[in-house]
């Protein structure tokens, strides 16, 4: 089981967290076209390499944060950033 470095709680089992994934920038809901909105909802970069992704520390500090993880090695790099929404290829 992956050990996720929560900025507040330290390394925790990934089952203690909720994987939010690579959230995208949210379009203006009053102006977005269906295509834009559905890209926001469903499309992901899913790179083989460094990925910026979001986690929620469900059983710990209850904070959302963004990490950079290598999807091949599961290595993390750079300090986590609080409450960020924009994920994807890093």
């Amino acid at each position: 089981m992956l050990l996720v470095p929560c900025p507040n709680c330290g390394p925790r089992n990934s089952s203690d967290l909720h994987y939010v994934g690579e959230a995208q920038a949210r379009p203006n809901p009053s102006e977005a076209t269906p295509t834009e909105w559905r890209e926001y909802l469903y499309m992901e970069d899913n790179p083989a390499g460094w990925l910026r992704e979001n986690w929620y520390c469900r059983s710990g500090c209850r904070q959302f944060f963004t990490l950079e993880r290598h999807t091949g090695s599961n290595e993390f790099r750079n300090p986590p950033m609080p409450g960020n929404k924009v994920g994807g290829k890093a």
Binding site: L3, N8, P29, P34, R58
Partner: protein, 953 residues
């Protein structure tokens, strides 16, 4: 020669049995005696029992081949415990052991006739048999199921205790042979916290069946391990290695638990499983009496068991030579040593169904013998390294696979790393232990640094220890896999080398395909014995080298884990309300709802409904999700979460709202009340309590960090009681002095804070899920039981009675209130639930707005409607399909249905498509028994009191 040539030898210097402690057990109906420390296998062979099972497909008689955990022939039934590995399990007083997979008996097995019809059981027979003609499948199934191997499962078996444990050692060492023990001791001696896991019943590995000098080394190492403070678990196996060295360990030696599953987070994992001996493929290689050299040495030296009377030893290495010497030393006639290093070979073994009688050699000669010992090489069980990303590479010179990839936090030592003298293995293990401890201290420092808020980390990060270990050598070994004849490759699956060659000819010539097609390596041995031979036979069939063919990937678990072990002890908290003791004392039938245990009913849900509609009922709704919201920007948060408007909710008012996800699908619903200027209480569905909290935090932390709102979950902080029925005002009035409960002062959808039964700071609101006049009381949870009991006492003359979840669900269905997740599903967008007035597209933003705007214009959304059957006595089951007329086209389904005690007829909610949603539409409902009945779409969701006069009263 006969089976009675087996038996017990005189005492051996290294034996692990205690001859002063006899143990009586029962085998196949006979009472036998063994000694304390005997495995079932050693005890049976000491009693002259050579045949222990019948093979899976051909039902050929089988005896012990490896006489250890991996023995493919040693599966037995022990009491109500099937598939026990008798080469490993120790005998106990009074144990009842039965052979498996034999019918009608071990000696006379009718299915051995399969040998004659073997062509039907050839390579790929599962696939060939199962395909066509399909109408014959039931017949195949009946026949095949009688051939299925395995013991008997007793459904009445008593419940036994299984346990779980979590641990965080610096170093976990898998394998307690010389290298593993040295690694564990060396790591602990420099301060690491070490867990040493040994699969067998004793530490020592192959030294246990070696010379006296070998055993002296083992004893010395074991003392060192103990002195260094290593935690040692024997009869315990590492089952798998997962991300970041999360390892599963199955402990079979716990004093209280049948099995304990240990989940360990190892900073460094040392893999030292040793080597597993390979069988040799030749005609007759599965005859009872054909054994591996390790099995013979183990039986003779550890258990004092005589494995035969006259032996042929086929040897390609020192272990085979030692087996011949052991046999000779204890007086067994070694008729011939066949030395593979001189080009000598064994061609076939023949004899009766009970035993080998004669061995044919490569030079054409035949030697009479009842024991044929083979020592033809090793399989490196690199499973744990594979799971860490390693891909083993074949080395021709030493005829086995080696690890090829360097993984920083997984180190290997001992036999899988290379060959050496005992001293060399110990030295390599020691160096590995020191390396592991050094690296573990770095990992520890990193973890500490990342957790520095609680304990500051001291000093700079230590340097990552480079691998300074001397390399172990690789002894030359002849490549020996198959003789000039064909024989069994996978003993547990009865797959022969001929089958593999045939499968390769049929085109299944990739090793991963071959294995699935023939089931070679897929039986209980899981490749430990047969993988290399499978690969070698395939390489031969393809005319390629083993290196070119490659090997299969070993996946977890390394050994089987029982389902009991996996389920183990449950660490999940169970939630009950403060009123639970009263429920239990008053005949409650409980129901498990998510993390909660709550009252389903107290005997008769229909009576509970009638009493609530006539007098007054009280129900415990504590699991209702409750979030306390405070701050100046709460209205903005509510507007963002709910589809309707919240900017102008007056203090003292309650409003219903619908929440959608960003795809417009209904997420949750509930009421929120404004308690003060900047203070609100939100309720969610019981199942949504945790996820809606997270959903609110998501908006606050990621999209609108500028909003000032503090969210506090108070679900368990309050005990929640709904008081419902025409007499509810009178009852609540008897407990409340400081709030005017009159209809004028406290009308529908209002909230008040006051004192209930002397308990201050209770929140009361007037809402009505049941459709009755009702007051929902949220009481500080420490006083919940007190308020409940006071309601029951004060309301006795009003006819107050408790009601459970079932009565509540009936009443809400009579009222047509949908339940999120029951009447809606993961695709139900908000316009489906008939509350379009609550979807305010003129708001600047709210979750799901974009999709809802498009959904409102679409006629493709389903509709939740109230449905009544024409025959009022029929209650269609939930999830029954709704069909279009007399066709089989599905146009919807029943989502909720009950017999209504109030209306004395069946009432339903269902989802239908737009064409069938109009009031008065006649529907066809397909019952579970296949019957089609008529039903009608109603004009209003509420079957009862559609104007809501009762709840507003």
């Amino acid at each position: 020669m006969s089976a009675s040539e087996l038996g017990r030898l005189a005492a051996q210097s290294g034996e692990v049995i205690d001859r002063t402690s006899p143990i009586r057990f029962n085998w196949n109906g006979n009472s036998l005696t063994g000694f304390k420390g005997d495995t079932i296998a050693s005890a049976l062979m000491a009693n002259g029992e050579r045949i222990v099972s019948r093979s899976m497909k051909y039902h050929r008689p089988r005896g012990y081949m490896t006489a250890d955990f991996w023995d493919p022939n040693g599966f037995v039934q022990v009491g109500d415990d099937p598939n026990v590995r008798s080469g490993h399990r120790l005998i106990e007083d009074g144990m009842t052991i039965e052979p498996q997979n034999v019918w009608p008996s071990l000696d006379r097995d009718i299915k051995a006739a399969n040998g004659l019809v073997g062509r039907f059981l050839s390579a790929g027979f599962y696939y060939k048999t199962f395909i066509k003609p399909q109408k014959l499948w039931p017949a195949y199934e009946r026949v095949l199921s009688t051939f299925a191997p395995g013991g008997k499962v007793d459904l009445d078996t008593p419940h036994r205790y299984h346990d779980k444990r979590y641990t965080h050692p610096d170093v976990v060492v898998a394998g307690g042979g010389p290298a593993g023990m040295a690694a564990a001791a060396a790591a602990a001696e420099v301060g690491a916290n070490v867990l040493l896991v040994e699969h067998e019943h004793q530490l020592g590995g192959h030294l246990l069946w070696g010379s006296d000098a070998d055993r002296a080394v083992a004893a010395e190492l074991a003392n060192r391990v103990s002195a260094a403070g290593v935690e040692v678990l024997t009869n315990t196996t590492l089952t798998g290695r997962y991300e970041d060295n999360w390892v599963g360990i199955v402990q079979r030696s716990h004093p209280l638990a049948v099995e304990r599953l240990i989940k360990a987070r190892a900073k460094i994992l040392v893999v030292a499983p040793g080597l597993i001996e390979r069988p040799y493929v030749f005609a007759g290689n599965d005859k009872p009496g054909v054994m591996l050299s390790g099995a013979v040495r183990r039986l003779v030296n550890m258990y004092g068991v005589k494995p035969g009377a006259r032996a042929v030893v086929f040897t390609a290495n020192a272990e085979g030579d030692a087996a011949a010497a052991d046999l000779d030393r204890v007086g067994i006639d070694v008729a011939r040593v066949v030395d593979a290093r001189n080009g000598e070979n064994v061609v076939s073994a023949s004899g009766s169904s009970k035993s080998v009688k004669s061995v044919k050699l490569g030079d054409g000669s035949e030697v009479e013998a009842d024991l044929l010992v083979t020592a033809t090489g090793w399989t490196a069980p690199t499973s744990l390294l594979n799971m860490a990303g390693d891909r083993p590479v074949y080395d021709e010179g030493s005829a086995r696979f080696y690890p090829s990839v360097t993984v920083d936090n997984v180190l290997s030592t001992g036999g899988i790393s290379g060959d050496g003298s005992v001293d060399e293995l110990v030295a390599h293990g020691e160096a590995t232990g020191q390396l592991a401890a050094g690296r573990a201290s770095v990992v520890k420092h990193r973890v500490q640094a990342l957790t520095a808020r609680s304990v500051p980390v001291a000093g700079p990060e230590p340097e990552w220890t480079a691998d300074f270990r001397p390399e172990l050598g690789r002894d030359d070994h002849p490549e020996l896999f198959r003789s000039t004849t064909h024989g069994i490759v996978d003993f547990s699956e009865d797959v022969g080398s001929k089958d593999l060659v045939a499968a390769a000819k049929e085109g299944y010539d990739s090793v991963e395909l071959l294995k699935r097609y023939t089931t070679a390596t897929m039986g209980p041995a899981q490749g430990k014995l047969e993988t290399v031979n499978t690969v070698a036979v395939l390489a031969e069939a393809r005319g390629e080298t083993i290196e070119q063919v490659g090997t299969t990937v070993w996946r977890p678990p390394y050994v089987p884990i029982t389902l009991g072990g996996l389920a183990g002890r449950n660490f999940e908290p169970v939630r009950v309300s403060s009123i639970q003791p009263w429920h239990e004392a008053n005949g409650v039938t409980p129901i498990i709802a998510g993390a909660w245990i709550r009252p389903e009913h107290y005997g008769n849900p229909a009576d509970e409904v009638n009493n609530t509609r006539t007098n007054v009922g009280i129900t415990d709704v504590t699991p209702l999700g409750k979030l306390d919201l405070q701050g100046p920007d709460v209205p903005k948060l509510l507007s963002q979460l709910y589809t309707n408007k919240w900017m102008k909710l007056p203090i003292g008012s309650v409003r219903y709202g619908l929440m959608c996800a960003e795809d417009g699908v209904v997420l949750d619903d509930g009421v929120t009340g404004r308690l003060g200027e900047e203070h609100y209480l939100m309720t969610t569905t019981s199942s949504g309590a945790a996820s809606i909290w997270e959903w609110a935090e998501n908006w606050l932390q990621t999209e609108h960090p500028e909003w000032q709102v503090h969210v506090t979950p108070v679900t368990t902080g309050y005990t929640s009681i709904n008081v419902a029925g025409p007499k509810s005002r009178e009852l609540v009035g008897r407990l409340v002095d400081d709030v005017d409960l009159s209809a004028e002062a406290f009308d529908y959808m209002r909230v008040r804070t006051g004192t209930v039964a002397g308990v201050e700071n209770c929140i009361m609101w007037r809402i009505g899920f049941t459709g009755e006049l009702s007051f929902e009381l949220h009481v500080p949870s420490g006083y919940g039981l007190h308020v409940w009991e006071t309601l029951m006492a004060e309301g006795a003359d009003l006819g107050v009675k408790p009601f459970g979840l079932e009565a509540q669900r009936i009443m809400r269905l009579e009222k047509g209130h949908f339940i999120v997740g029951q009447d809606t599903d993961g695709l139900t967008q908000a316009p489906a639930v008939g509350m379009n007035a609550l979807i305010k597209l003129d708001k600047e933003d709210f979750a799901g707005k974009a999709e809802l705007a498009w959904a409102m214009e679409s006629d493709q959304v389903p509709h939740v409607v109230a449905i009544q059957t024409v025959d009022p006595t029929i209650v269609p089951g939930e999830a029954c399909q709704i069909l279009k007329g007399t066709t089989n086209e599905i146009v919807g389904r029943i989502t909720s249905s009950r017999m209504s005690p109030t209306l004395n007829r069946s009432v339903c909610l269902g989802q239908v498509d737009t064409a069938h949603a109009e009031a008065g539409t006649e529907l066809t409902v397909l019952l579970r028994n296949g019957q089609r009945i008529k039903a009608n779409v109603m004009s209003h969701h509420a079957h009862f009191d559609p104007e809501g006069e009762r709840l507003r009263g």
